[in-house]
């Protein structure tokens, strides 16, 4: 489904990604781990076309993803969440989720301004879908609340709901359980597993929380200083000396 080959990104003299390559198959959940600054978020930003790759290719469902303009990535079925939350603070939770469904709507300035019957029907359909998602993720009671001021754990779910509203085939989650307590992590893992099966999404997840990665991922890719240093099943990668070294350093 997703094929990353020799992906290289440089910022000035720093090489953030250095010839990274891996594959994600349909229906898989792939974990992307590595110490801070390893290039995980840079990789996500390349996949959503926020950063330009200096070399390498990314193929998504057979097409060249690096030739797609940033705003068209969503329409291809790729949705993401952000490391430090990328919500719209002044919008209600429901509206945040509805923005996620932006590319499923057609209403333009004129038709929306006149509230033509087609626009009205479309709006009702989108609202019903959004409300369904909100109930599914236990957010119905905060639907009308502005995103700003809600608890962090709730906001993480709002972001997941917004990503799912795009009806993605590929879901990119950037540290989804970062900052959650252990009960919330377990709950989020359960929710993620459930929605992954229901919505038939392929997931790539960046996460430091090893328990979460072990519990949700089919395969793990480990990056360090922009290079792939290991790939395999969660258990294999956890035992890999290079991974242990990257996280803990070499013995003195």
């Amino acid at each position: 489904m997703l094929e990353v080959r020799d992906l290289t990104v440089r910022f000035g003299g720093i090489t953030a990604l250095d010839g990274v390559g891996f594959e994600v198959r349909h229906g898989e959940t792939v974990g992307l781990i590595g110490p801070n600054g390893a290039g995980k978020t840079t990789l996500f930003n390349c996949l959503t076309r926020r950063y330009r790759a200096d070399a390498g290719t990314v193929r998504y469902q057979g097409a060249d993803l690096l030739a797609v303009p940033p705003h068209a990535v969503a329409a291809l079925g790729i949705a993401r969440t952000f490391q430090n939350l990328g919500l719209f603070p002044r919008l209600s939770v429901r509206d945040n989720v509805l923005v996620g469904a932006h590319h499923h709507g057609r209403a333009g300035f004129l038709s929306a301004g006149m509230r033509l019957p087609g626009v009205r029907r479309e709006e009702e359909r989108l609202r019903a879908e959004a409300d369904g998602l909100l109930r599914r993720l236990d957010l119905a009671h905060v639907a009308g609340h502005p995103a700003a001021g809600l608890p962090f754990g709730t906001l993480k779910r709002v972001e997941l709901a917004r990503a799912l509203a795009a009806r993605p085939r590929l879901l990119l989650l950037d540290e989804p359980v970062n900052g959650l307590n252990s009960a919330e992590v377990a709950e989020f893992a359960g929710t993620l597993r459930a929605v992954r099966d229901d919505f038939e999404v392929t997931v790539v997840v960046v996460e430091h929380h090893m328990g979460f990665v072990m519990g949700t991922c089919d395969r793990v890719v480990c990056l360090d200083f922009g290079r792939k240093i290991a790939e395999g099943s969660p258990a294999e990668v956890q035992q890999n000396p290079a991974v242990v070294e990257a996280y803990l350093g070499t013995p003195a």
Binding site: T48, R50, P70, H71, A72, V73, A74, A75, A79, R80, F82, G86, L87, F88, P89, R90, L91, D95, L98, V99, G100, H102, H103, G105, A107, G108, F109, A112, G113, M114, R115, V119, E122, E123, L126, R135, R136, D138, A140, H141, R162, A166, A186, E187, F188, A189, G190, T191, R193, A194, G211, M214, G215
Partner: protein, 363 residues
């Protein structure tokens, strides 16, 4: 591992189950109070739906007012409506799309001059000048929206300010078309005989009709996918783009639509005043408009109307208080309002309404 999975699954199912009764409960809560008592139910309904009720009352008062007031007051209210239409547009751009314009007076002027030229040169029926003036401003806004795609904050403010700055000399320079400094004097639209209205009343109702139409247009726009996209651009551009919102498209069109409202307001201004000259649209008009929408309430639907009241009345009040320094009084009033109501008069009104509603509910 599978144990965690099970607990988590159970947790999420429990959450779903918990969400269901909450849904069922919600409609019940609205009609709580004392069930059976019609008065209480009516009051609760009124408290719940206070917005449409307040709007209807406001519209009724607006239709009644011109029959009770002297022509000068009717004229003043007409100008409030004219400014409110311009501010609806500015609000769309600044309050909702998060861009800035210090040159909206120019779009206002373009609409006013477009209408004046059509009336003066080609005797176009005045109702026809409205869509044309709005369209001219729209196209100009589209052109000037292009820099907005690349510029942010202060840089955008500077570019838009320059538009307002060079407009006055430009209007004076092309004397053959614009009438130069002398301006253009026009006959105001006459009320049709069947209405039995005086001229000031007719102009007032024309402005009211345009204002109501503009309000509905803006409201529909903002409650749609387009409005949400604009809000998303304002709150977090990067996230908006990931959701598939085309930033250049929405920024440029926000400018164009905003300019269109200002142009329509300018057109009505020409109908009402019957005279346009370059000095009617100085740079301070642009700045007063921006001050008006900030004081009125950015990003709120009632902000433009409150801002229109502010733009119309506060400069003349400051003139009354101290003839020597109206600017100082005007500035001090802006500071005072922002100190008392940092979210604008609309925010203040909203908080007051919320308090009244809570008090009524508690009774």
């Amino acid at each position: 591992m599978s144990e965690t999975a099970n607990t988590a699954n159970t947790a999420s199912t429990a959450n779903e189950a918990a969400a269901e009764p909450a849904e069922v409960q919600a409609p019940g809560r609205d009609a709580s109070g004392e069930p059976g008592s019609w008065g209480a139910r009516l009051r609760d309904a009124a408290v719940e739906r206070w917005r449409p009720i307040a709007l209807a009352a406001l519209l009724l008062a607006a239709c009644y007012a011109p029959f009770q007031l002297v022509p000068f007051r009717v004229f003043q209210l007409t100008m409030v409506l004219v400014y409110a239409v311009a501010l609806l547009g500015l609000n769309l751009l600044v309050g909702h799309a998060g861009q800035i314009s210090l040159g909206h007076g120019a779009f206002f002027a373009v609409g006013a001059y477009a209408a004046a030229l059509m009336l003066d040169r080609w005797d176009v029926p005045y109702l026809l000048t409205l869509p044309v003036a709005a369209a001219v401003a729209f196209v100009l806004g589209l052109g000037l929206g292009v820099p907005a795609v690349r510029l942010h904050g202060l840089y955008l403010a500077l570019v838009t300010l320059s538009i307002a700055v060079f407009l006055v000399p430009l209007l004076k320079r092309f004397e053959s078309v614009t009438g130069g400094s002398m301006g253009l004097t026009l006959t105001k639209p006459a009320p049709p005989a069947w209405t039995g209205l005086a001229e000031d009343q007719w102009l007032y109702f024309l402005a009211l009709a345009v204002a109501v139409a503009a309000f509905l247009l803006a409201r529909n726009l903002l409650r749609s996918r387009v409005g949400r996209a604009l809000h998303a651009v304002r709150d977090n551009e990067a996230a908006a783009e990931v959701m598939g919102v085309r930033l250049p498209f929405y920024k440029t069109l926000a400018f164009a639509w905003s300019a269109m409202f200002a142009g329509a307001a300018g057109c009505v201004y020409t109908w009402v005043i019957g005279f346009v000259s370059p000095d009617s649209f100085p740079v301070t008009l642009s700045i007063t408009l921006l001050a008006g929408i900030v004081v009125g309430g950015l990003g709120s639907l009632s902000g433009p109307l409150l801002g229109g009241l502010f733009v119309m009345f506060v400069p003349s009040w400051s003139q009354d208080i101290n003839k020597a320094a109206p600017g100082v009084i005007f500035g001090l009033l802006i500071i005072a309002v922002m100190y008392v109501a940092p979210t604008g008069l609309a925010g203040l009104a909203g908080r007051a309404a919320g308090r009244i509603r809570r008090t009524l509910r508690r009774e």
